[in-house]
Point group: C2
Chain length 345, copies 2
DNA sequence: ATGAAAGCGCTAACAA
DNA sequence: TTGTTAGCGCTTTCAT
């Protein structure tokens, strides 16, 4: 029936000092078995549990990680969030969510708010930070890891896929598949993922004596992507690409729908489509999308590792820029090079 | 360069008392404009921001809402989470995420952990709580709202769609469409949403002189659903249903894929498929799924409203059981009754 | 309107 | 190993 049980009450019940109670609930502390027993008994009886906030105040460790995330409609992020939250939970941390509207200025306010909660660390998912802001976190001693966004300079770590190499291999794959008119539908131009994927893709094409045949911008948004596809493909057959790399799966689905149902093109007979991410719907039979897989669990593992290292050895750890290889997942949405068997992932 | 600025430092800089600083940052407090100016100036200069945790300790209000969520793969939940987090953020609250593994016992531990953070309220998304646990929250004075799960008794509020009525209208729709052999693929049997949708569906069929032709269980899981569809439809044509209601969209996509690509059936010519939720992929042309829309934003709005009412008027507010109507979204995956024009939602 | 003083519940020296 | 004593940074009486 008690509304709030404190360590002091437990102490009185157990006939020990308040600090004894504290020690019982502090992993590495020195307490006799007898004290432990008495305290545990009293605690259970009263329903006592340590107040995390009070602990945070004095210890300076809140065991809260702030997560800044911009949009959850691309299924890659919910997936990552689930893995991240689970991984941190196992290590005794929890995720406090902050939605950052697309608004540029907004992100600054959001970070300030996060800092107000005395978080032990910050993960930004697909959100760039002004170096001004990075400074602020640095001086507040709060380590930051950019997830799925590369940013150089600053003292911030980042974990990304090797987007450049991924783009390049996609170019290889399409050229090897015998395509001649290869196009690209870009994501939001402010994103490092977009930049790197495109740069790698162009480099790959160039290496094999090709160049981009057409290009539109999809902004990482389904509606924009659909419009981009329409503009790109609603042209005389001669001007129409025979392959297109769409900068992420989320857009690729909209593109495929527009091509098949809007423009009556056959995939991959009339046009090959490849994406990037390998989110769950990519494996659905209705899309069966050939794509580069972003290994979400590996990316999260590196993120957690980096963050906790910085938290637990303050100042000591160097900023890391982790880049993770993306395996090509060959499915049915793109014509396959003769010697490469399709593998239904 | 300062690492942590306290109100005391600001006070010294501004030449006022520490409590004056506190008052400046407390909305309804009485301070002279002069003091406000001095303090604000000093605060800005030093980069001071109030420590939310310290404030929480003394005021008893953490402005943290604990969210328990089980899985994010059904796109309905990320969507809801995004709306929820934004709505709370606007009201000055933030969401602390706790993943509850499917494990039954786990949920108890998770709730205890949440309570440790002195949250002001708890939202459970599609997670049931033992009444034992509800008690615990009640006595801790922490209001709980079940999102998308109905639970009677206890002192917990809940916000759901009107799943019973939704199921019933789906039955109406399929019968009116001239279907004779109507089947159902169930979700996880422990879920109130599953129970209510099925009960409503059966009632609707019965009212019009029909009965369930076949039934399988999909557990709200794509793989199970696929297997269920296979078992249900891989039979002689005579025994095959001509319509199926799948308990949520997430499963319906897997079912559609199995029917079309696994068993070579035409939708809706050979079989009509309807779902529940209206998650984004339902509108994708490759699925074009007729479904009942769960109004996520309305559900979230009610959840927030309920929760904050309980938080701000402790004890006073009555527990609410909100139920929200689900409009039928008619698309192309089901044969349409003659007099009802298809509306491409 | 303002300052002094008393905690919120806890951890971390410091003695003993 | 244990108890005593300071605070962590803030809000909130209570005087003034």
């Amino acid at each position: 029936m008690a509304e709030k049980v404190t360590s002091l009450q437990v102490a009185e019940h157990a006939g020990v000092s308040q600090s004894a109670v504290s020690r019982v609930f502090t992993p590495g502390a020195s307490v006799s078995q007898k004290t432990v027993d008495k305290v545990r008994a009293a605690a259970t009886k009263l329903g006592y549990r340590p107040n995390v906030l009070a602990r945070a105040m004095v210890s300076g460790k809140s065991r809260i990680i702030g997560l800044v995330v911009a949009y959850l409609d691309n299924h890659f992020y919910p997936e990552a969030l689930e893995i991240l939250s689970n991984a941190l939970q196992e290590r005794g941390y929890h995720v406090l969510v902050f939605m950052a509207s697309q608004t540029a200025g907004n992100i600054d306010d959001v970070v300030e708010e996060i800092l107000d909660y005395q978080v032990d660390g910050i993960v930004t998912a697909s959100v760039a930070m002004s170096s001004n802001l990075s400074q602020r976190c640095l001086q507040a001693q709060v380590p930051v890891v950019h997830f799925n966004r590369f940013q150089d300079g600053d003292g911030v770590s980042s974990v990304t896929s090797d987007n450049y190499q991924g783009g390049r291999e996609l170019a290889d794959f399409l050229v090897a598949g015998g395509h001649e008119k290869i196009a690209y539908i870009a994501g939001w131009e402010g994103a490092s993922t977009q930049r790197d994927r495109e740069a790698g893709f162009r480099a790959g094409l160039a290496e094999r004596g090709h160049a981009l045949f057409a290009r539109e911008v999809g902004e990482f948004d389904a509606d924009h992507a659909r419009a981009a596809a329409h503009a790109m493909f609603n042209v005389p057959a001669h001007d129409r690409p025979d392959a297109v790399f769409v900068a992420n799966d989320h857009m690729a689905f909209a593109v495929m729908d527009e091509l098949r149902f809007g423009l009556n093109l056959k995939i991959p007979d009339d046009v090959s489509v490849v994406g990037f991410d390998d989110v769950p719907p990519a494996a659905w039979r209705a899309y069966d999308l050939t794509t580069m897989r972003q290994k979400a669990n590996l990316m999260v593992a590196e993120t957690v590792e980096t963050l906790l290292t910085h938290i637990e050895t303050p100042g000591a750890a160097a900023t890391r820029k982790v880049s993770i290889a993306t395996p090509l997942i060959v499915r049915g949405s793109a014509r396959v090079p003769p010697n490469l068997p399709a593998d239904k992932g």
